[in-house]
């Protein structure tokens, strides 16, 4: 079983839809949770970053963390064709020098005009 599971999609939605992207994880030591967005033929870029449980909002994007269920989500409101990309969740614990990120495999999203 992978430490981080992410539905690979692909996911296609019409413009304006609300998109929900999710990851589950098994390591209860994870405390930092991130979402990266990767456009085709580009490197990933940080979209959202949260610490521990709770919600964080940034414009049309909301990140949720439920540590009790080991489940994180990214919501995109009023989705746009420019949101079409692969979304990667990533998480890490804090344990000395081993602060490496564990990534999900990514969900490919297409927003249709």
């Amino acid at each position: 079983q992978k430490e981080v599971e992410q539905d690979p999609g692909p996911l296609s939605v019409p413009e304006g839809a609300i998109v929900s992207l999710n990851c589950t994880y098994s390591n209860s030591a994870f405390q930092y949770f991130m979402w990266y967005r990767q456009y085709s033929r580009k490197g990933p870029e940080l979209l959202m970053y949260t610490y521990s449980s709770g919600n964080k909002e940034d414009g049309r994007f909301t990140a949720q963390v439920d540590k009790s269920s080991k489940y994180i989500s990214l919501f995109i409101r009023d989705s746009q064709p420019s949101d079409s990309a692969t979304y990667l969740c990533a998480m890490s614990s804090f344990s000395g020098s081993a602060r490496q990120l564990t990534f999900g495999s990514g969900t490919q999203l297409t927003v249709l005009p």
């Binding site: 940080l46 804090f94 990120l101």
Partner: protein
């Protein structure tokens, strides 16, 4: 506004060739990383470095080596390229210290080994 630069975007090499992938960051980050990205497998860590001349193995170091002679530069070396090393290679960097390990990635180097 480029912060992590990977010198080669696309490379085609033959089996057995030695391959150098170079990465430079201009953010004075302590940490640098090399990942490979393959469909269905996500990002897998090859090597990382927390300081100059320091390196640690990641999850899949076999067939690779690295060099970090200067803080801003981290090189990935394939001593004898094989077809199963055909992949997208991503370099990343981050600040050291406490807190999350937020990575800044380069644009990637797509390597094809024939």
């Amino acid at each position: 506004d480029v912060k992590v630069t990977q010198s080669s975007r696309y490379l085609v090499k033959r089996t057995g060739e030695k391959v150098f992938l170079e990465c430079v960051q201009d953010m004075d980050h302590e940490n640098m990383f090399w990942y490979r990205q393959d469909p269905g497998l996500g990002l897998r860590l090859i090597y990382f470095s927390y300081d100059v001349k320091m390196k640690e193995k990641g999850d899949i170091p076999e067939g690779y080596s690295v060099s970090r002679e200067k803080k801003e530069r981290f090189s990935l070396i394939l001593e004898s390229a094989s077809t199963n090393q055909t992949s997208m290679y991503l370099c990343a960097s981050s600040f050291g210290g406490a807190g999350a390990n937020v990575l800044t990635f380069g644009a990637g180097s797509r390597l094809t080994v024939l």
